[in-house]
Structure formats: C-alpha cells, structure tokens
Symmetry: C2
Subunit: 111 residues, 2 copies
C-alpha cells in the first residue's frame, strides 16, 4: 500500500479515535448508550455547561459518532451504530486489566 495514502487513512482513523479521547465525550457517549437524549438532558445529567456540551456534540457529529433528530425546539442525540461503543468498552476493559496489573505490582513492591 502507498505510504502517502496509508498516512492519510491513519489521519482519518486518528480523527475517529480523537472523538472518544476526551473524558467529557466519554461521559456523553455513556449517557447515550441506551437512550436518546437532548442537549439539555446531557447538561443536567453531567453538570456541564450548554455551550461546552454543544461543542463536544459537534465533534461527535462531525466524526459520525452521533446523529441528531429535531423534536420541537429540542435536538435529540443518538449513537450511530455499535462499533464505537464496542471500542470504548474494549479500551475500558484494557484499562481495568492494566490498573489491576499495576495494583498487583505496587503491592509486591511495597511488601
């Protein structure tokens, strides 16, 4: 495969990864895991300002992670597909294993 094309694809790939590489966006994704929510719902549930929630949702929208639907004055957000959630869960399992490993190492070192 052409190195130039490979680099550009990895750039796009990284953009999708960056979509989930922020603590607040992970919180948002978790809230949307099994329910459709408005911007205001997310603000209240996560105690984050409206403008900040909208900014994070704009990133998730741009990367194709979420889709939107209007309901009167509100805009409801949903996760598009399950692959992103699956990836998020895999990385969380990875983190859990890593924390367990380091916890075991730490206790061994401290006796």
């Amino acid at each position: 495969m052409d190195g130039q094309v490979a680099a550009e694809l990895h750039e796009l790939h990284a953009r999708v990864c960056k979509a989930i590489a922020d603590p607040k966006r992970l919180l948002i994704i978790n809230e949307l895991r099994d329910q459709e929510l408005s911007v205001g719902d997310l603000c209240e549930a996560l105690d984050i300002s409206q403008s900040n929630v909208s900014q994070h949702l704009a990133i998730l929208r741009e990367r194709g992670v979420v889709s939107t639907r209007r309901d009167g004055t509100r805009v409801l957000y949903t996760l598009r597909g399950t692959k992103v959630i699956q990836a998020v869960d895999l990385l969380r399992e990875f983190l859990a294993e890593d924390l367990a490993d380091r916890g075991r190492l730490g206790s061994e070192m401290t006796g």
Copy 2:
C-alpha cells in the same frame, strides 16, 4: 455511581484512548501488529525520526499499550494483549462504513 469517581475513571479511560488517537502511533501499532520490532526498525519502516518514534513509544509504554525487551543495544517493542488492536480495528471499520456512506475512499480501506 459517584460523579467525581466517574469523572476520574473517564479521565484515565481517555488517556488510553488518546494513546491511539494519533496517526503516527496508529502506524506504529499497525507495524507491531504481528511482529516484535526495535525502535530503529520502526524508524526505517515508517520514515520517522528516532527521537519522534521514541517519544511516541514512551506514550504507548506509559499507557500500557506496549511492553519492551532488551536485546543487546536494541530495545524490542511488543503489543501487550489484543484488546487495543481490537478497538483500533473496530474504529477503523467504523471509519470505513462512514466513508462509504459519504461515498469517498471506501474501496481503499478493504483492499
């Protein structure tokens, strides 16, 4: 669940996600997919400077994504476990679907 603890866990979770949220680190991870490689091997294969490769590997090491083994003067890098690779692949599939939806570059991904 306590919101404060949840936020801290998502901070750690995001740190793992950030590890794969960079095009060069994705290239490195792909090179290590099925072979153990030295820093110099990666520099040559990816045409990236030695210091930059070492910097990216330091991040992957710190996040627990790769492990190291000394062989003389060289240091060989390996992926720790398969969960990160699985997550990377899922996000790549997600990207491929999204690009196909938008009608661009979809065929490049499956080749």
